[in-house]
Symmetry: C2
Subunit: 163 residues, 2 copies
Amino acid sequence: MPESALPYRPHNHQNCVSQALADATAICRQQNARLTPIRERVLELIWQSHKPLGAYDILGMLGAEGHNAAPPTVYRALDFLLQHGLVHRISSLNSFIGCTQAGEHHRGMFLICRQCGNVLELAAPEVAQAVESAAESEAFLPEDITLEIAGLCPRCQVESRHD
Amino acid sequence: MPESALPYRPHNHQNCVSQALADATAICRQQNARLTPIRERVLELIWQSHKPLGAYDILGMLGAEGHNAAPPTVYRALDFLLQHGLVHRISSLNSFIGCTQAGEHHRGMFLICRQCGNVLELAAPEVAQAVESAAESEAFLPEDITLEIAGLCPRCQVESRHD
DNA sequence: CTGCAAATGTTATAATGTTTCAAAATTTGC
DNA sequence: GCAAATTTTGAAACATTATAACATTTGCAG
């Protein structure tokens, strides 16, 4: 049996978060971008959840910890993080998730479980390749690819058979 | 030079619309679904535009022609049309476009021009295949695929070179 | 330390989507 | 046909997501 992907099995997630923050710090330094406290905190909140967070979820969490922020604060932080490839936006959910391949040039592809809400980011270069050549066969110049796959994750498939 | 795809060249678009409405009527009859006047009108409005329409765009158009509808009216019509595969939702734009392959079982893939706003629906079974096998390699059961490619259509690539 | 640019705060508002309950139309069983 | 059941639509209120505009603060370069 193949080892299941990370989000689908128990692990010390705080390590993921720390690693992501360390990576983000390095990437920002390299790009001469400022990972300010708010931006860092938003990134951390996003990473602490394996499920995508909405802007207003983040807003609520900031509020709960005493930082009484308004929507633009969060959206600006998110814009920054998107811009620097540190998070992805999941259009079909209006929400955000940490990028597991920050820094590397890639097209995100997401497996979104409709049952448990977990999201797995896939690299899948062969898919990206297929998509790009399909676009090019129409003489279309692709710039940004949104690829979101909703369905059932391995764990939830098993559970739904117990009905 | 290959013939460019339909939305990218001039044509009598009213024919497209009529054909789409005729197809929709047939499909609904076959599925025992009721293509009521509102639903048909919403479908027609969507088809008359090559660019995706937002729910509130449709609402405005209905209002302009005297039908003073509230948001749920439009969203319900859209839900119906989505359910029966007559339109697609473009998540990344919060908007809707007519399905060019209504009735056939397929996964939509969209080429969205960021310049002119036109959208081309592609069949691309080899892409669908690649996506599905990538999902299955993670033991994920795919149900719904959102694949939206933003970029420049052939015409707008040419124009942007004239800068 | 001063002036500029970037980042954040603040208020208001726009855009998108849903809940709920009531009324009307359509189908179904008889 | 007709009455009950179902589906569809109307209408009002509300919830969620996102942005605009402008004031203030912070960090940095000279």
